[in-house]
């Protein structure tokens, strides 16, 4: 149907000011080849309609419309059209015409041709006559009805007209709501945009009505027309009162047995997939046999009581909702059951653009897996190989003096920033992925960039300065930074370990191990809220070097590169031999000593409830890392982070400055050259040589001697 209407609209648009006459001509000529088909129809139509208004040519648009069909000298007939007559062209007349068209379709098995005539003619009138809106509506109805009848076969004529009224009512409403932008084009029929816009609106409304329901296979358009057919067929009393039951009857009449033998394949929605995965979490307990109970107990020791801390965090107004927390709890249980884990903790959740990360912090028992270490050795070796190969290539030309800055080695696992191992998953029930251990370079770079996490670990991080690694490394670096900044405990809960080689570490001025204080008696909640000095960091501070423990890059480099050129060592001599050791706040420093961010205190403490202070807990919120929280009820404490994984700063992010541009060589004796020897000098030299050739004179300068030799060569 749309195929029929669109070309017509285009034509309208192309020739907006064109009068009826040329149009008619064209219409007539375009129908020339089809006239053979349509002409025989005419006699059939006429008897049926009987003494219709068509018989008086002045009033009947139908007759006018049919003239081009009747005699192909159309222009003469259509020239009798005049605008006043067209103005009287009312919807009812359109209906009359409509009926004819219906008839035509009924009679003619090849309905396409006559219909197109009517369409063209009516739209033609609609174009240049005043009540253009009515016209175009009639037009639209006509089309729709034709299609309908094409589908549904012969129908009662009166049914059609009432149906049209019904639909027109709909459309008028549609117009009302359209009016806010239609009013701009209020001149009815004058601008060509208005009818086309309206037609589009009508078509879209009709398309909506004809949208087939996925359940019953019906559409509202057909349903309404069937209902009205039924009403007009049966002529019930007070039809409006029983319209609901009529509607129901019509629907019942459509009842059909489902005859397809094809079976619907159930759609695999993601919701079912995830439910299937999470089912494993809930089944876990049942699957394990009774024999393994001992092992279970060991494993369960490492499982944190997530629900208890979630309860406290909920008091603080932080948390992920009860069911999600419980799923995470079960996912942690799965993790501890499948890995040799000594201690496990729910670290938090990092939000991403597409997916989120749920992070678990674990400490392995003695057998930490070694794959990770091997992997990194391989990569390091590769790096070395590459650099050597490059150096060997160019022997003769001066080699580059630039050496990449000394790579600071990463800390051993179980120490410093790599003290814990982190596992992440996107959804509870999904597979846990172990994050690689962090290198100082990654931390240093991560401090300079600010990127959103996408939720896929292998995403490359595109940034300036270039980040060494993909999203899993960036995630790991941010976790290290957040942990170092926001993991706090009440004063006295941890104490420094005694048996671990304290003396060695005290030489360095810091100790990096601690243990739980068995004699911890708890702190009053009020004290925890009122004084920040009752909270201490129990994770080591990360130096600006990117490590927790100082690594002296200079000593090491000298040892490694003894065979370096003399020049190099001179350059090094200019640098201080001993870089001052960078020291951060030691372990178990109170957070009251944390740095302020531009007059903003780094921590906010609060009591979870003002109404029931005796059972309230202390809530600590980090202002430096929004999303980091800690609570303590005096005896217990927990930290959690839920957020985007970014540090707060009151100023906006500025990319780091470009590295300094390397200065060129200073223009000195090595760079500048003398002028070319002039003719005089050459002559003088020649003269002196001739003189020297004589045995008597021995006045040669050393330089001249050399020059002489060169010349001889």
């Amino acid at each position: 149907m749309e195929d029929l209407t669109y070309p017509k609209q285009e034509q309208e648009n192309q020739e907006p000011g064109e009068a009826g006459r040329p149009w008619e001509e064209r219409a007539a000529s375009s129908q020339d080849p089809k006239s053979g088909l349509s002409e025989p129809l005419e006699p059939e139509e006429r008897p049926e309609t009987g003494p219709s208004p068509r018989s008086s040519p002045a009033q009947s648009p139908r007759s006018r419309a049919s003239t081009p069909l009747d005699d192909l000298t159309g222009p003469g007939a259509s020239s009798s059209l005049s605008p006043p007559q067209e103005a009287s062209f009312s919807p009812t007349l359109a209906l009359a015409r409509q009926e004819h068209s219906d008839k035509t379709t009924n009679v003619n098995p090849k309905a396409g041709t006559p219909r197109s005539h009517h369409l063209e003619q009516s739209s033609d009138k609609g174009e240049w006559t005043a009540p253009a809106t009515c016209q175009s509506e009639g037009n639209a109805f006509q089309q729709s009805q034709q299609t309908k009848h094409h589908l549904y076969g012969p129908k009662d004529v009166s049914d059609n007209s009432s149906k049209q009224k019904e639909l027109r009512f709909n459309i008028f409403q549609e117009e009302d709501s359209n009016s806010n932008y239609d009013l701009d084009h209020a001149g009815p029929g004058v601008s060509e945009a208005a009818p086309s816009l309206l037609e589009i609106a009508i078509q879209s409304a009709k398309a909506y009505l004809q949208k087939t329901s996925s359940k019953s296979g019906l559409n509202l358009y057909d349903h309404l027309s069937d209902m009205l057919t039924k009403v007009l067929d049966e002529h019930p009393e007070n039809a409006v009162d029983i319209i609901e039951s009529i509607s129901q009857d019509v629907k019942m009449a459509h009842f059909r047995k489902k005859l397809d033998t094809l079976q619907n394949e159930n759609e695999m929605l993601p919701i079912y997939e995830i439910a299937e995965k999470q089912k494993a979490l809930f089944l876990q307990g049942n699957l394990e046999g009774a024999d393994q109970e001992l092992e279970d107990e060991i494993a369960e020791n490492s499982l944190p009581n997530v629900m208890e801390s979630a309860f406290y965090f909920e008091q603080a107004g932080v948390g992920l909702g009860t069911d999600e927390t419980y799923r995470i709890f079960l996912a942690l249980k799965q993790l501890t059951d499948t890995h040799p884990i000594q201690r496990c903790r729910f670290w938090g959740k990092i939000l991403g653009l597409e997916m989120n990360y749920i992070v678990a912090e674990v400490e392995f028992r003695e057998g930490e897996d070694e794959e990770d270490i091997e992997d990194e050795d391989v990569t390091e070796e590769r790096d070395d190989g590459d650099s050597e190969a490059e150096e060997n290539d160019e022997d003769e030309l001066p080699r580059t003096f630039y050496k990449t800055p000394q790579a600071i080695p990463k800390e051993e696992s179980r120490t410093g920033a790599n003290k814990y191992v982190y596992f992440v998953c996107n959804e509870p029930g999904g597979p846990w992925v172990k994050l690689p251990s962090v290198t100082p370079a990654q931390i240093v770079t991560a401090r300079k960039i600010k990127k959103f996490f996408t939720g896929r670990l292998e995403t490359p991080i595109v940034s300036y300065p270039p980040f060494p690694g993909n999203e899993s490394n960036y995630l790991r670096a941010q976790i290290a930074r957040i942990s170092a900044g926001t993991h706090v405990s009440p004063l006295g809960f941890y104490q420094f370990g005694e048996e671990e080689g304290e003396e060695e570490e005290e030489v360095e001025g810091r100790r990096d191990s601690f243990e739980e204080n068995p004699d911890f008696e708890g702190i009053q909640v009020i004290d925890l809220v009122e004084s920040l000095s009752n909270w201490v960091h129990h994770v080591q501070h990360i130096l600006s070097q990117g490590r927790c423990n100082w690594f002296n890059p200079i000593q090491k480099s000298e040892e490694e590169e003894e065979e370096e050129d003399e020049e190099k060592e001179e350059e090094k001599g200019e640098e201080p031999d001993y870089m001052e050791q960078e020291v951060g706040p030691p372990l178990l420093t109170p957070i009251s000593e944390d740095l302020e961010i531009q007059n903003i205190p780094p921590w906010t403490t609060r009591l979870s409830s003002n109404l029931v202070p005796q059972y309230a807990i202390a809530v600590l919120r980090s202002n430096l890392w929004p999303g980091a929280y800690a609570f303590s009820n005096g005896k217990k404490f927990e930290n959690v982070y839920i957020g985007w994984g970014h540090k707060y700063s009151p100023d906006n992010y500025t990319p780091p400055a470009l590295p300094p541009v390397y200065q060129e060589y200073p223009s000195g004796a090595e760079i500048t050259e003398m002028d070319d020897p002039s003719v005089e000098e050459e002559q003088a030299f020649e003269a002196s040589r001739e003189a020297a050739a004589l045995p008597v004179e021995e006045m040669e300068d050393t330089e001249e001697d050399e020059d002489e030799e060169d010349d001889e060569d």
Binding site: Q173, D176, S177, N178, N180, Y181, A193, L197, I200, S204, Y208, L269, P270, I271, Y272, E273, E314, Q315, A316, G317, V318, G319, L320, G321, T322, E324, K349, L351, G352, L353, E354, M355, N356, E427, I449, K450, K451, F452, Q598, N599, I600, P601, T604, S608, S609, N610, R621, N623, P626, G627, I642, G643, W644, H646, Y648, P650, D651, N652, Y653, P655
Partner: protein, 276 residues
């Protein structure tokens, strides 16, 4: 989020870690009912909270019959006593744009801002330092207004335009379908349309005037200022604004449950282009 279905909404929005303690929840349920009665609002929304250094602001909004009419905003520090905020003006936005950093949590706190003002006496031009004092309440008003205008979200079809003009809640709204729920184009800004008037007729051709009378999210600048996620295996769609981090919109497809909540510091993320 609707005050009436607060508990369900909070549970749905909890994926971002933004919750309310049981005490706050209970007191909100009580006090918002009273707010609705006393101020005679048609609908009361719990808007969210702005985290201050000392205390948090809890914000609620009252809607009249026409959903897009200017909303009344109330704030509270303890979730029980609510005070009405004055309507935001352009001046306020300009005035408070110089203030950076976190909210304090004290509405009477005054930010001091020194400005260089040129005064001319005769021929000479002096530069004087003028200290402008800005009340935190003013800043609160303007920030809430900015957030509302920038990132308040409503799914397509949840509101409809009546023939008489006002915009009502659509009772027949049954939620977005799954495929629509994952597209930004099915969500609208919950405010008077701005972009729509600038659109050409051609762009408007496909729009349904009774539903598409607001701006769609998909043309937001910069592109990528929304993160759209299907959580819990498509049972919940969560939109997070990256321009105003802290705003979470949730919608459970095929249900009426939708809403947004803001929990954050009340600062705009102007670093967004660097972070994508």
């Amino acid at each position: 989020m609707d005050a009436e279905s607060l508990l369900l909404s909070l549970e749905l929005a909890s994926g971002s870690g933004q919750g309310l303690s049981p005490e706050r929840r209970a007191s909100l349920l009580t006090s918002l009912t009273l707010v609705k009665r006393d101020y005679r609002y048609d609908r009361v929304l719990f808007w969210g909270r702005i985290l201050g250094l000392v205390a948090d602001y809890y914000i609620a909004q009252g809607l009249s019959e026409d959903q897009l009419a200017p909303r009344k905003t109330l704030y509270s520090l303890n979730c029980m006593e609510w005070s009405l905020l004055p309507p935001a003006t352009e001046e306020m936005v300009v005035q408070t744009s110089v203030v950076k950093g976190r909210f304090m949590g004290d509405p009477s706190h005054e930010y001091e801002h020194t400005e260089l003002q040129k005064t001319s006496e005769g021929d000479k031009v002096f530069e004087e330092e003028v200290v402008v004092q800005i009340k935190e309440e003013t800043r609160l008003v303007s920030v809430i207004d900015q957030i509302d205008k920038a990132v308040a979200v409503i799914p397509r079809g949840a509101l409809f335009k009546t023939p008489f003009g006002p915009i009502h809640v659509n009772r027949t709204f049954e939620g977005l379908s799954l495929s629509e729920a994952k597209k930004l184009s099915s969500y609208f800004h919950f405010r008077e349309p701005v972009e729509l008037r600038n659109k050409t007729l051609l762009e408007k051709a496909d729009l349904d005037p009774s539903l598409d009378f607001m701006d769609s999210l998909e043309h937001d600048i910069p592109k990528g200022s929304w993160s759209i996620q299907a959580e819990r295996g498509n049972a919940l769609v969560v939109l997070r604004s990256l321009l105003w981090p802290g705003l979470t919109f949730f919608h459970a497809p095929r249900t009426k449950n939708c809403g947004y909540i803001y929990v954050g510091t009340g600062e705009k993320n102007i670093d967004l282009p660097f972070m994508l």
